[in-house]
């Protein structure tokens, strides 16, 4: 501005360059576009060039054989292993497609499998309003989600007008979902209670919560499942016959509640003391102040940890094969002993791995979305 005035008053000549009348020139061609991108990201220094060459060599070694094995040289239909081998040298996916129903439902009676399907549809209906707050009729959806576990339990186990199905028949992905979702649904509230107990002013409650959490976190889940399958019946009144699946559910829930409690404790400790004092000053009692002031903030901070615990629990459901329940891995290993399909363990493991990868990756993506949504601070 100053300069313009000067030049205007200093000389009577019209300036050759009138500001604002020329379009912006494009940036130099060597700073944009794919070539600049390649130069910046792949070839910026000698070390970088070496890394690029090594990585591409690695990909060249790994990718084509894997793709061949999985898709281009794989058999998708066939009677048995030999039929697969006759067609192609790679994977034999015919095995998976023949056993797909078994992988999904386990040994659930065929005439009752609509109940599993219906529970799954209801599960989707119950989960959507929890996950996304723009769902229409969200309030009713949440009420439905509260009663869903009981409806699903009734549908799956039977009784009250439906044919009862013993829980030994549960298996496959359905078993994974039953154990995983029950664990997720019950370990969060239990974990919150334990975390609050650990922060409590009441010494006896505190000691109890601390020792419970430390015990759970100090031993592997497998040993707890062994306790559930071998030892627990001794501690129950004589003659009680306790369902094995129910014992497993209880143990898995308690186990992840211990980890959940520590995650939430981290969140609670990150809340400034002023928040507690402010809610005291407002005259809120313990539970209202926790529910309205402290927990919303603490849970928001601990979302990544909570979802990680969920993912850990969901993955740990595979351990039930060690005490004899047939989750997808168990079904797969049992199927491998069929002489028709022997030796196809890689196919089974990769198929099950794909299932777990899809579900766990979806969970971790959702946690990122939730973190972004609840972010209220300024971005740096």
């Amino acid at each position: 501005m100053e300069k313009n005035n000067l030049s205007a008053t200093g000389s009577t000549m019209k300036p050759d360059y009138v500001i604002g009348e020329h379009p912006d020139l494009p940036p130099p061609s060597n700073t944009i576009g794919p070539i600049a991108w390649i130069r910046d990201n792949l070839l910026s220094s000698p070390a970088n060039i070496v890394m690029t060459i090594l990585s591409i060599f690695f990909l060249y070694k790994i990718l084509p054989p894997s793709l061949d094995w999985m898709f281009f040289d794989a058999a998708f239909v066939g009677e048995d292993r030999n039929a697969c081998r006759a067609v192609a040298d790679g994977a034999c996916w015919a095995f998976i497609s023949e056993r797909f129903k078994l992988f999904t439902y386990g040994f659930y009676p065929i005439e009752n499998r609509w109940r599993v399907d219906l529970s799954f549809v209801l599960l989707v209906i119950a989960v959507i309003p929890i996950l996304f707050d723009k769902t229409p009729f969200r309030k009713y959806g949440l009420w439905f989600a509260m009663v869903f576990p009981f409806i699903a339990g009734w549908l799956l186990v039977g009784g009250f007008g439906l044919d009862p199905v013993p829980t030994e028949k549960f298996g496959g992905f359905m078993l994974t979902l039953v154990v995983g979702i029950t664990g997720i649904a019950f370990s969060l509230p239990l974990g919150i209670l334990l975390a609050l107990g650990r922060q409590s002013n009441l010494p006896i409650i505190k000691v109890f919560c601390v020792s419970f959490i430390e015990f759970i976190r100090g031993v592997p889940l497998i040993t707890l499942l062994f306790v559930a399958s071998t030892m627990l019946s001794y501690f129950l009144p004589p003659g009680t016959n306790f369902d094995l699946l129910l014992r497993v559910l209880i143990m898995v829930t308690l186990f992840s509640a211990g980890y959940m409690a520590e995650v939430i404790r981290g969140g609670l400790q990150a809340i400034p003391k002023g928040q507690f004092e402010a809610s005291d000053a407002m005259g809120l009692k313990y539970w209202p102040s926790m529910r309205l002031i402290v927990l919303p903030q603490a849970l928001k901070i601990s979302i990544p940890g909570i979802v990680n615990t969920f993912i850990g629990l969901y993955k740990d459901t595979t351990l039930v094969i060690i005490i004899g329940l047939l989750d997808p891995l168990g079904i797969g290993r049992a199927s491998l002993s069929d002489t028709k399909w022997t030796g196809l363990s890689n196919e089974v493991y990769l198929f099950v791995a794909l299932f777990f990868f899809v579900s766990c990756f979806a969970m971790s993506r959702y946690s990122l979305y939730l973190e972004n949504k609840l972010q209220t601070e300024h971005r740096r």
């Binding site: 792949l42 062994f226 501690f235 060690i322 890689n346």
Partner: protein, 397 residues
């Protein structure tokens, strides 16, 4: 005081006690204690009745009876005539072995992954990302079974073993490696090695003192390395390599002599390390990115070289963030080693909590021992890491 109580209608004693904060907390605690105690008492009573009904007692005498089962991998002397107690010791050693080796390999791989994830190179970065996401989102049991399957199915039988320069043989029954036979002269090399370690500890504090007083800087790392590794190596070759290597030979259907690493151990070791490395990689990455960029800029403004910036400014600060989650990963690897039972590696759960339990039928005793052992390991590891964490913690006001 007396006026208000008189003017208000007399409230009953329960609500008065309940509305007093101190008394209420005592009441709640008494109720909680009574409930926990009652539950505990009830369970113990049930256990006593149940055990009596089937005529069992609680006794640890079975530990000294012969175990009469075989264990494929054992660092202490063990035969099927040894006692259950010896079997338990073998199990403990095997668990510790897998935990220690797993912790070492997963730390190395994890730091490597963390650095690759921070790399500016797009391809390397994305490769590390894909590896980490795949590994973290698939259950560890699946990794163990997959790698075990690969080793057992993909590696050849002993008769056409993969031959590594006529010394080591890779087969699906294990990796056969030459075993060292130590000659007396070797103790000189070892003595030099120990002296090297003592010298470097002294030299480190000396170099620090000199640097504090005069600002003069010694290359501590290279001098220590040559003291610990260099001189003993030179000595080793001067003395004419005083270790005889016993090379495994194919006899009948299997290799004899040398040492053997079982496929179960290798599968478990690789699977646990690769799985945990993915988590450690993310921990390392977030720890390093959490150190503010201004620290690096400040160091280069002071004229500190890039390598020294990393080792003196960035890494010490990043370690403070990395250590606590790293501890829980070390604990996880120790606890996950219990999955050994799925592929038949004989750790604590497979020996005393598995075969011994099934043979003697003493569920209570065996499970108590197993739980106590794992609790001890966990407490020891977290005590050590807490001590280390406290040592490197930022000293504030």
């Amino acid at each position: 005081m007396s006026e208000t109580t008189l003017s208000q209608p007399q409230r009953n004693i329960v609500s008065r006690l309940w509305n007093d904060k101190e008394t209420r907390s005592i009441i709640i605690q008494i109720i909680a204690f009574a409930a926990i105690f009652a539950l505990f008492f009830y369970m113990v009573r049930n256990a006593v009745i149940n055990l009596e009904a089937i005529g069992k007692d609680i006794s640890f005498d079975f530990l000294w009876q012969p175990a009469s089962y075989d264990i494929s991998q054992s660092l202490v002397e063990y035969t099927s005539r040894s006692s259950h107690f010896t079997a338990m010791i073998v199990g403990i050693i095997n668990t510790l072995l897998i935990a220690v080796f797993g912790i070492l390999l997963s730390t190395v791989l994890g730091f490597l992954l963390g650095v690759l994830r921070l790399s500016k190179n797009w391809v390397t970065n994305k490769l590390a990302y894909v590896y980490i996401e795949y590994t973290r989102n698939v259950p560890v049991l699946l990794h163990i079974l997959l790698i075990h399957g690969l080793i057992v199915h993909a590696l050849p039988l002993p008769k056409n073993a993969i031959n590594v320069s006529d010394a080591a043989f890779l087969t699906n029954r294990g990796f056969f490696l030459p075993s060292p036979e130590i000659q007396p002269l070797f103790w000189f090399v070892l003595a030099l090695f120990v002296m090297g370690i003592i010298f470097s500890i002294w030299f480190r504090s000396y170099a620090k003192r000199v640097q504090d007083e005069t600002g003069k800087y010694y290359p501590v790392f290279w001098i220590s390395l040559s003291a610990i590794m260099g001189f003993p190596l030179i000595m080793y070759f001067l003395l004419g390599s005083p270790i005889d290597w016993q090379i495994p030979e194919l006899k009948g259907f299997n290799y004899k002599g040398g040492m053997v690493i079982r496929p179960e151990f290798i599968a478990l070791w690789i699977a646990l390390s690769c799985y945990t490395a993915a988590f450690i990689g993310e921990i390392v990455r977030s720890g390093i990115t959490a150190v503010s960029w201004g620290q690096t800029e400040a160091a280069s403004a002071l004229g500190v070289s890039r390598g020294r910036t990393l080792s003196l400014v960035v890494i010490p600060q990043a370690l403070r963030i990395i250590i606590p989650p790293l501890t829980s990963q070390y604990l996880n690897i120790t606890k996950n080693s219990s999955l050994a039972i799925a592929i038949g590696y004989m750790d604590i759960v497979a020996t005393i909590g598995g075969i011994s339990l099934n043979q003697t039928g003493r569920e209570m005793e065996c499970m108590t021992i197993v739980l106590l052992l794992y609790l001890t390991f966990s407490l020891l590891i977290s005590a050590f890491m807490n001590w280390y964490n406290k040592r490197i913690k930022l000293t504030e006001r």
